[in-house]
Amino acid sequence: MAQEAHEEHGDGFEPRILVFACNWCSYAGADLAGVSRLQMPASCRVIRVMCSARVRPEFVIAALSKGLDGVLVLGCHPGECHYSEGNYFTRRRGLFLKQLLEYVGIEPERFQVRWVSASEGAKFADTVEEVTEQIKALGPNRPRAHS
């Protein structure tokens, strides 16, 4: 076990990424990735919400300020929202928040929004892979919560 643990942690920094996924598309997509046994980095922790529009931008700010390495908000593709328009609000909030965070010096890679449908298990896996790599490259997000 120690041996294996060593092997696994050999690659050093493993980012901790918070993922918000909407129940209807993205969470189902994540499930599909699982059902299809698509392997991906063990970096993401998914919080299920009914719609990506439930995700308060405040959550993203809090998560990053508390020191999580990244936040990924996943929703249905525009036009496919189970509630018909939710993800359009997600899109606007995302556009605004991304620029604000960048302005105060938070790397844009640490907060990302992506559209993943229920049939896109592979896309979910790829997204996790990609975002994890990007954040690995940045290194840990300096926690400020108790500095």
Partner: protein, 440 residues
């Protein structure tokens, strides 16, 4: 109609779905299943095409919902003994086979199974592993109660042992238990007895039973299933080594006037699925599917086949092998078949050739379940030429049998896949509801 009870025969996915829908309509449902648990064939599947959903994962909630429904009355390990009367007032006798276990006391803890000294072939795993004479068919069984198999139990056959009785702290073992006849009055009957795999032994050319490494599709299903005899490790029978090349032979006994003239409908996709799963287990495993027509006719089926070809190293060979030999040293089956190749002139020519593989999978025909014929006679139903329950008007009444008040869904009335069976199951519910008229 005053009597608002319905008899459903068969606890597979079709019977389960019909029961749930009927129960949700406020009708009393008597679900009769001959084995100790509901779940049927779907419970034996590892995954389902074309989504690769874990079969048990989507079935288990349905099983529990069905068994837990206030309007559903389960008769497992039971058989329909006699049916009299007509639509609106059928009188049914159900025979509860003795389980020799008190269902109210058994906790399904499995201690007795531990102790039981008698091992027999496990039908849930297609005989690829052994179970005890007292057993739980599979972990998610509903009800989760053990059953003593009277044919093999040492005490019941040879009069000594009773270890289970000593072990059981709940005192659930009851060797005095007698078979029980239950009289039911129902307004309608839904038949959903499903299928059995056709035994390919009679197709001598394929050497099933002679060549160790020639197995059937359902056997493979259990071999790659995590809850199967090998814990999901794909091993071939002869030497337990992981196969690197697998040949699937389609239409074994189907589409063949000498055996079953019809197309079993699901085997093309079933084989494709198993080839994909096998490759997922071992990415360097290659599959060859020998087919006549690749009947991928459902939603997302073609796409599934394309994925199999492009991402899971599955090769489709359009040929019907005539003979399977075996290499005695390696135990490798050798598949003889004819194929079309390009001659020097670039023209196509047919030639006979062979392929040595590690494992051969026979996608055998699927036939109406063993209880089928007997049931059909008891219900006074007509059969079609192929032995399926005859449907009078396929166009407008696709689930109505020749007897008014009796409906048929799923494989017992025609070969079909899970969604079609589920659809027909719900359709029978609608027909029953129409027969009985509005509630209250």
């Amino acid at each position: 109609m005053s009597n608002r009870a319905v008899l459903v025969i068969g606890g597979g996915i079709a019977g389960i779905q019909a029961s749930i829908d009927l129960a949700n309509m406020g009708l009393q449902v008597y679900l009769v299943e001959s084995t100790p648990s509901i779940g049927g064939r779907m419970a034996q599947l590892d995954k389902t095409f074309p989504t690769n959903d874990c079969s048990m994962c989507i079935l288990a909630p349905k099983m529990i919902e069905c068994a837990g429904h206030e309007n559903v009355h389960l008769f497992t390990y039971s058989e329909v003994d006699e049916v009299r009367g007509e639509a609106g007032e059928f009188k049914v006798t159900v025979r509860r086979k003795p389980r020799y276990v008190d269902l109210n006391r058994c906790t399904g803890c499995g201690d007795c199974v531990e102790k039981c000294p008698r091992r027999v072939a496990d039908e849930f795993n297609m005989g690829l592993s052994q179970r005890k004479a007292i057993y739980l068919p599979f972990p998610q069984a509903v009800p989760r109660k053990v059953t003593i198999d009277a044919e093999t139990c040492l005490y019941l056959t040879k009069g000594r042992c009773r270890l289970c009785e000593e072990t059981c702290e709940a005192g659930a073992i009851d060797f005095e238990q007698q078979e029980e006849l239950v009289e039911l009055e129902v307004a309608a009957i839904v038949m959903a007895t499903g299928f059995d795999p056709y035994d390919p032994t009679s197709l001598k050319e394929y050497g099933y039973g002679e060549i160790e490494n020639v197995i059937t599709a359902l056997e493979l299903e259990r071999l790659i299933c995590a809850s199967g005899p090998t814990g999901g490790h794909l091993e071939r029978p002869s030497d337990g080594k992981v196969p690197r090349t697998v040949a699937f032979i389609q239409c074994v006994g189907s589409r063949d006037v000498h055996y079953k003239p019809y197309c079993s409908s699901v085997c093309c996709m079933h084989a494709t699925k198993e080839a994909i799963l096998a490759n997922e287990h071992h990415p360097d495993l290659r599959s060859f599917i020998f087919y006549t027509d690749m009947r991928a006719v459902g939603k997302q089926f073609q796409e599934y086949v394309i994925r199999a070809r492009e991402e899971y190293s599955v090769t489709y060979v359009r040929s019907r092998p005539g003979h399977i030999a075996v290499d005695q040293d390696t135990g490798n089956p050798i598949v003889w078949y004819d194929e079309t190749v390009f001659g020097e002139a670039g023209d196509r020519v047919r030639r006979v050739t062979s392929m040595e593989v590690d494992l051969v999978i026979l996608c055998q025909a699927l036939v109406p379940h063993g209880v089928h014929r007997e049931m059909v006679e008891k219900l006074g139903l007509e059969l079609d030429e192929s032995g399926f329950v005859a449907i009078q008007d396929r166009l407008i009444r696709p689930v109505d049998t020749s007897v008014s008040g009796i409906f048929a869904c799923g494989f017992c009335q025609s070969p079909q896949d899970i969604p079609d069976s589920v659809i027909q199951a719900s359709a029978t519910a609608a027909r029953v509801a129409e027969l009985l008229g509005p509630r209250k």
